[in-house]
């Protein structure tokens, strides 16, 4: 007989599956029940994770999941591991589900897919996060993107078909290539080694470093539904990050002898410059949160691959998590303005609030993304820019170019305050005073909550590590 603590990992994995079964049983027009149920399961999942994290932090050993069943001659063995790396991924996916279900209310009465698929995706992600081998995780993750195509296909955007086609062919091709390369024996020549490493890393980079690696970025950003986009992006990037972590183990000890850290930095820098240039020419408040998300996450691979030390992994996770939380906050605020018009009579108030909402994304040190960003950058700089390092100049060049891109993005973000978006919100609806007040309080509280969360995240991530 299991106690709760022993079974908690099973519960964490299976809660999304149970949730998706229950939600799909509810008739599709009963939105209230579906929302309530999804909120309940999201909260339950997160609570279970907190218990697991606590147990992990105080050092008690959790059982790995393993069970097998056979059907005729077909034998399936199911193994899930929990270690100091993937516990954060379980946590992040449950946190994303929680935030998504509370912040973005979906009101589609035609089908259940919009409510069910986040949970189903989370379940698949949970299964993959328990794997140690990229050869098992990658096919599963690759198949899970089909559900994202369904999600995009069920939205009412005009060019959703082309977005699905571009993204689908690209991701599928890259995944297949990586799987083929993984079967090859490793070459001893340096150049082949680098090429193979890049091939293995490509699926992760394609999901995480969206702009430099994926030609489908702009089409995707413009064609996802406003309420589902945040989850899709958060999921894609989380999966990409996990693939990178697994690939880092796969490439192994040769990592530092090769120039892979430098290449990662170069790619990240290119990606950031790309995003910054796109956003400075096209600073619509609608797409800017997406651009900023991609901008900061393109730094993630270079931080992760900077060294084989564990510290860099924690910095990466902290950066990713902060980024996602601020992104959710910004998109939610934008949605509120878009769907309900301005809750403020004075335009200046709305602009000030939009500035407050964007401020965590500005990379100001000590607030929002800056809490994780600057320590990560400084730690990276100490690793590579010291006098003895042979490639010092290149590293400093990449960092300074990244810096330039960073300033450009800040300019683009601040320029949206002057944009005309607030005057031409056509979808303004008649809303009651009580609801207006609710929105206003959200406008003030949510940036504060995002800032406080960004301060808490590093503490939470470093907590088990310290004990």
């Amino acid at each position: 007989m299991y106690t709760f603590d022993q079974a908690s990992l099973y519960i964490l994995i299976l809660i999304p599956l149970i949730a998706s079964i229950f939600i799909s049983l509810i008739p599709s027009f009963d939105i209230e029940s579906k929302n309530t149920l999804s909120c309940f399961f999201a909260v339950a999942g997160f609570c279970v994770f907190i218990r697991i994290f606590y147990l992990f932090g105080i050092g008690s050993k959790l059982k790995n999941i393993s069970f097998s069943f056979s059907l005729l001659n077909f034998k399936i063995k199911f193994l899930l591991f929990l270690n100091e790396y993937n516990i954060y991924f379980f946590g992040i996916i449950s946190l994303i589900l929680l935030l998504y279900n509370f912040l973005f209310e979906i009101s589609d009465t035609k089908s259940n897919i919009h409510h069910v698929s986040p949970f189903l995706l989370a379940f698949i992600a949970n299964i993959c996060f328990g794997q140690k081998d990229l050869r098992i995780a990658l096919p599963l993750l690759s198949i899970s993107t089909f559900m994202i195509y369904f999600l995009i296909g069920h939205s009412d955007r005009q060019r959703k078909g082309s977005a699905i086609f571009h993204m689908g062919t690209y991701l599928f091709g890259i995944d297949a290539l990586a799987l083929v390369i993984l079967q090859l024996q490793s070459f001893k020549e340096y150049i082949f080694f680098i090429l193979i490493a890049l091939g293995i890393l490509a699926p992760g980079l394609a999901r995480l470093c969206l702009p430099a690696f994926s030609p489908f970025l702009q089409r995707l950003i413009l064609n996802v539904d406003r309420r589902e986009g945040p989850f899709i992006f958060a999921f894609l990037q989380l999966v990409g990050l996990y693939i990178l972590v697994l690939a880092k183990n796969e490439i192994g000890k040769n990592l530092l002898s090769a120039d892979i850290p430098l290449m990662m930095a170069a790619l990240g820098m290119l990606s950031s410059l790309n995003v910054a240039l796109i956003s400075i020419t096209n600073f619509k408040s609608e797409v800017l949160p997406y651009y900023s998300l991609c901008f900061y996450s393109s730094l993630i691979p270079s931080v992760l691959f900077a060294s084989s030390e564990k510290l860099f992994f924690y910095l990466t996770i902290s950066l990713y998590l902060t980024n996602i939380i601020i992104f959710f906050n910004t998109t939610k605020t934008h949605n509120l303005i878009y769907y309900f018009g301005s809750p403020y009579e004075k335009k200046s108030d709305l602009r000030a609030m939009w500035f407050l909402c964007l401020s965590p994304f500005l990379g100001v040190p000590g607030i929002g993304i800056g809490v994780s960003l600057w320590p990560a950058l400084y730690t990276m700089a100490t690793q590579f820019a010291h006098d003895a390092h042979p490639k010092k100049i290149l590293w400093i060049a990449f960092l300074s170019l990244w810096f330039l891109a960073f300033i450009l993005l800040a300019v683009a973000l601040v320029l949206t305050i002057r944009a005309e978006f607030f005057q031409r919100s056509n979808m303004t609806r008649e809303i009651s005073e009580a609801f207006k007040k609710k929105i206003k309080s959200f406008f003030i509280l949510s940036p504060i909550a995002a800032v406080i969360l960004s301060w808490l995240i590093p503490f939470a991530i470093f907590w088990p590590h310290k004990s």
Partner: protein, 406 residues
Amino acid sequence: MDQLILLFVIFLSLIIVLILTSAFRASNKAIIIVSFLSLGLAVINIVLLMQKTLIKGEAIYQILEFSRINIRPGILIDGHFSVIILFLLIGLSLDFFQNRKKDNNIIRISVVQTIILLIISVASDYFILISIFSVGTLISTFLFLKNYSDIVSDWQCTKDFLLQRICDAFLLASFALLYMKYDTMDAKELAEFSNDISMFPRIMLFSALSFRLLTASFISELIFTHSKFIFFCVLVIALRLQWLLFQQDILDDIFFSISFAFSLITLFLLLIFRNKQRPPGMFYYFFSNIFFVLLGNYKILSSMILCGMIAFSSLFFFRSKKKEQIKIFPIYYSIQQIPLRGIYLFGEIFSKFIGFFYTNILFFRAPQLIFGIVQLPLRFFHNGSISRSFLFVVLTLSAYVYYWTT
């Protein structure tokens, strides 16, 4: 530990003023009395603190270590700190006295800024210091956007904010240079290495600070509390950096040149925008120059005072003239246009990024002036313009002083 208690009382009294001014109108007499009482309490406390730290020399330095990354929140209370806070509190009382019947917002903003400055001046770690500084600029921009969009346009507010972001990035990068080498950003710990620190980071830091002051002095004139805030922040940072900036004798000349260059830039900017009123920013810039001098470099003193004189007098002088008379280089204007075409093209591209105001300075006015300076000696001989002769005299004098002191 008495110092910490005194500090806490100051903090508490400021919070009380903040709450009172945000909850009630400041024209209410009871509110005025209570606010003044708490401000008075703060002043008494700071005088006591001054007595302890400045006269008896009992500085406090405490540090908290909690993570593997070398960013350590620490508290450092010394003599400089209490003097700054005393001035700040006096400034705040004046603000309160001036605006008590007109405007609650300005009082609230300056109280918020004072609280932020109080926290900045006790932080010992540079990373935390700059973090709070940036958060402060963010909060005050938000408050200005919210309360003063009738007077100050959104465009002006955001433009200033963007410029500050660039300055902050510059300052952070120069600190990064130190951090890479010594793996710490704590003021006390860096002081131990101060003899080993090479020239480049020192110069970077000094020019970053000068740049910060320069931009602060040209922040839109209506947001005068903002430039005061930035001025005091830079003052705190420079005080913490004093041992790092002015220790080697070799550096004196370099710093002198940097300050001189910045003063000249200020002067030129003043000439360009002579029709606009920018006294508050100029005032703070002038005082900040004197402050740099007080930090220990007497060679800068001469240049600073001269440049200040030039700036103020020319400001006064040019404002009284008509627009046609004060065109400095009218004859060569058309010849100048030819090599400037390319620069103008870049200017037009850049005006999309950084706005027309700063592009104007960078690509339109500055090249014009530089070309003008080349022609300067020629122009002095055959023109009876009193302003130009005045400029000539002052420039030759300052050049002579420079030659004489070196």
